[in-house]
Amino acid sequence: MSIVRNAQGKEIRAKNKGFFRTLFSQWQLMVMSVPMLLYVLLFNYGPMWGWVTAFQDYKPKLGMLGSKFVGLKNFEWLFTRQDFINSIRNTLAMSVINLVFGTVSSILLAILLNEVRNRGFKRTVQTVTYLPHFLSMVIVVGMAQNIFSSNGAVNALLMNLGLVREPVFFLGEGKYFWWLVGVINVWKEVGWNTIIYISAMTAIDPCLYEAASIDGAGRFHKIMNVTLPGIRSTFVILLIMNIGHLMEAGFEIQYLLGSSVVMDWSQTIDVFVLQYGISKQQYGVATAAGMFKSIVAIILLVSANAISRRLGEDTLI
């Protein structure tokens, strides 16, 4: 054990002698924790053996032990596929749009809510804007199809305002898809994402605002110089986490909202994996695609964390 080689070596070694005895005396805590440890090892770490199939010409009948190893052939095949390249592009594009739209909108809303003095009104706005977070993606996509259809509300509004003459086919043209996903995600999550920022804002010492007022700062200056610096560390932590999730643009919304017409723009890596793995039963290729995604995600997370540390900001790990 590495703990043994600590500064206070002797004492710890003495304690370590009784490791199993202590463990035995803590049998009740073990009863409470070991079942879930085994559960997580099976359901979260167990599937990692499945990564072997990424290097195999996996045949369900033969299983993992009987299938032939093909080296990196699956990965090579993936990168010759235009649809896989497209799906990497789409994933990153939609992630970045989601990240920028999501962060900006929720910080903005949190600031506006923070400035509301009437508690009842503030609570009402919160109750209403948290609501879409609890709707399933199936429902949200159904609503979006009503709203954005050629005779839906958005087109009616645009035509009444005279911005367009003909209805826009938001759902039928690839060039709109990324932005549509961005808008729908903001609609669904903006309220929910304010929770963390608002709780960070309530932790700001009120004296700072008072001092700023005494110095003659107006509302805008107080927001810029007290509120925003106050939520800085929350922002950084969330940013690192989100960068770690850049490869996860989600698949529910793309899978449900997308169609063969817009596939070049809607297919994300996850949808690609689903299509090749489940529908076409090409397990090896699909696992390789998923593995590629996971590895890039870990690299992104670790490097974002390192950059943040280098810059003297908070870190996640």
Binding site: T22, L23, Q26, L29, M30, M32, S33, M36, V40, Y45, G46, P47, G50, W51, T53, G63, L109, L112, V116, R117, T124, V125, T127, T129, Y130, L135, S136, V138, V141, G142, M143, Q145, N146, I147, S150, N151, A153, A156, F169, W187, G191, I195, S199, E210, S213, G218, R219, I237, G244, S259, S260, V273, G277, I278, Y283, T287, G290, K293, A297, L301
Partner: protein, 312 residues
């Protein structure tokens, strides 16, 4: 309130009087923006309700706003006369209740064990748990494990067993327990109570607020899930969940909407697709349970989210 803050508020008030324009306009503009946001949030929801109460053929003309144009209960009648919906609702409701209870049981118990500083396996188990939030084997390996290795597909258990535990929720509860006074556990231990008893009789009852949060998260997740049915139980009609039923209706309407860009073509193709009104009515039916529960739990989940974000 101390004299100091009163004084500074007085000063602030004087300041306010000096800059009348800016400080009076802002609250009004702010209120208007927030009201507009509420309208944008609620419009699609109310619009869906309006569609669900509209006549099916008339709804194809679109442009229904916040109120049905030709009122009709046909959509609800046709749904409620279909046994598949009752079966799906039963599947959805039962899996939600069972998953939630199992989650609360396992998650809170583990959270308690990992909140005890003297527990020798604490660090090891915590690391194993937290890593799962960042490393994921991916869809296909998970699918192979659940459907082939464990043969859970085409069964009700696939809704329960793989979703029995969540690391994020465990950390939320552990943070909450960490905020309770240590003396509670210590004094009970001195009185001779074992850890299991300390947990069930002292800590568990005190955790109700955070458990309400976690229950809401889990219940909503389970109620809203459709992908598990899609992957594992698509072939078993009696195991379809409500959301999956909705997803299938969505797919059929969408296929026609994309094929037919003009409304005339859409009209022609309605015979073989699900009318939008029926889809909206199922949406309403499957959303009502969430709408009923959620406002009561709001104060809990806000604290819960704040707790979870303290330290991942």
């Amino acid at each position: 309130m101390t004299d100091m803050t009163k004084m500074s508020q007085g000063i602030a008030r004087v300041n306010k009087k000096n800059k009348i324009g800016h400080d009076r306009v802002f609250p009004v503009v702010n209120t208007l923006i927030l009201i507009l946001l509420m309208i944008v949030t609620l419009y699609p929801v109310i619009n869906t309700v309006a569609y669900s109460f509209n006549d099916g053929t008339d709804a194809l003309r679109g442009n229904i706003g916040l109120w049905p144009r030709v009122f009709s209960l046909k959509a609800y009648e046709s749904i409620l006369s279909d046994n598949a919906v009752y079966q799906a609702a039963w599947i959805s409701a039962s899996k939600t209740v069972i998953t939630t209870l199992l989650n609360l049981f396992w998650t809170s118990m583990l959270a308690f064990a990992l909140s005890r500083r003297e527990y020798v396996l604490r660090k090891f188990i915590t690391t194993v748990m937290v890593l799962t939030m960042y490393v994921n084997a991916g869809l296909i390996p998970n699918y192979l494990l659940i459907s082939r290795t464990l043969s859970l597909s085409k069964s009700y258990w696939v809704y329960i067993i793989p979703t029995m535990f969540s690391c994020f929720n465990m950390i939320v509860i552990r943070t909450y327990i960490g905020g309770l006074p240590d003396a509670l556990v210590e004094s009970a231990r001195i009185d001779g109570a074992g850890d299991i008893r300390v947990f069930w009789q002292i800590i568990f009852p005190l955790c109700m607020p955070v458990l309400a949060t976690v229950a809401l998260f889990v219940a909503v997740g389970s109620w809203n899930s459709w992908f598990d049915t899609h992957l594992y139980n698509a072939g078993k009609k009696n195991l379809h969940s409500l959301q999956y039923l909705l997803k299938m209706k969505l797919a059929t309407t969408q296929a026609s909407a994309n094929a037919a860009k003009s409304s005339a073509e859409a009209l022609a193709s309605t015979t073989q697709t699900t009318p939008v009104t029926i889809r909206c009515a199922i949406t309403v039916i499957s959303t009502v349970p969430i709408l009923i529960v959620y406002p009561f739990l709001q104060k809990y989940f806000v604290t819960g989210m704040a707790l979870g974000s303290v330290k991942g």
